[in-house]
């Protein structure tokens, strides 16, 4: 079936604007992760959902970042009042269970804040 999809693939926002990034995980996958990847760095964890429950948001860099997965499938990462340091690729990943199985990554959304 289809893999993890993310939209938009590219987003340019003026500083101060709000943005919403969408992730469609693989159907039936319980776990969903968001990562932030700055240029030249590896992905860094932002937040984790098990079904609709957000069980870990320890990686969210500030209270401007908010994520939800209301029905346990599609997830949205929202960034309010974007800043230049928010420019990065935002990756979504899903996995079948909760035991540390392989994660399947989406193509990412490249956010550029001008």
């Amino acid at each position: 079936g289809a893999g993890v999809s993310q939209s938009p693939r590219y987003k340019v926002a003026k500083r101060g604007q709000d943005v919403a990034l969408r992730c469609d995980p693989i159907s039936g996958h319980v776990s969903l992760f968001w990562y932030q990847q700055a240029l030249g760095q590896g992905p860094e964890f932002l937040t984790y959902f098990q079904n609709e429950a957000q069980l870990d948001k320890s990686g969210l860099p500030s209270d401007r970042f908010f994520a939800e997965r209301p029905e346990g499938s599609v997830s949205t990462l929202k960034i309010q009042r974007t800043q230049q340091e928010d420019s990065a690729v935002y990756l979504c990943a899903s996995s079948y269970g909760t035991g540390g199985e392989r994660q399947y990554f989406g193509p990412g959304t490249r956010l550029t804040v001008t």
Binding site: G40, D56, T98, G100, G108
Partner: protein, 111 residues
Amino acid sequence: AQRVTQPEKLLSVFKGAPVELKCNYSYSGSPELFWYVQYSRQRLQLLLRHISRESIKGFTADLNKGETSFHLKKPFAQEEDSAMYYCALPRPSGSARQLTFGSGTQLTVLP
């Protein structure tokens, strides 16, 4: 806190030469480790995980607990191996098994 270090940002080898991508980790306990790969214009994907002890595309990785390393090796590199490689360590326990990634090594295999 757990940490993954990939000391080489860039690595170039000639086709047919052996290649080793280094990964060191800090972790208390018995770690699981993964190698993820990102080919040009493709998404990040799992290459191999140490507990399966398998060889994928000719690559192997052995966990050395004494040296806290999980280096990725291939005896004869191919041009199609050119990609970005990330070593990753999942959180040991708890509800979230998020991955801690190294900063990656860009491998270029020259013709």
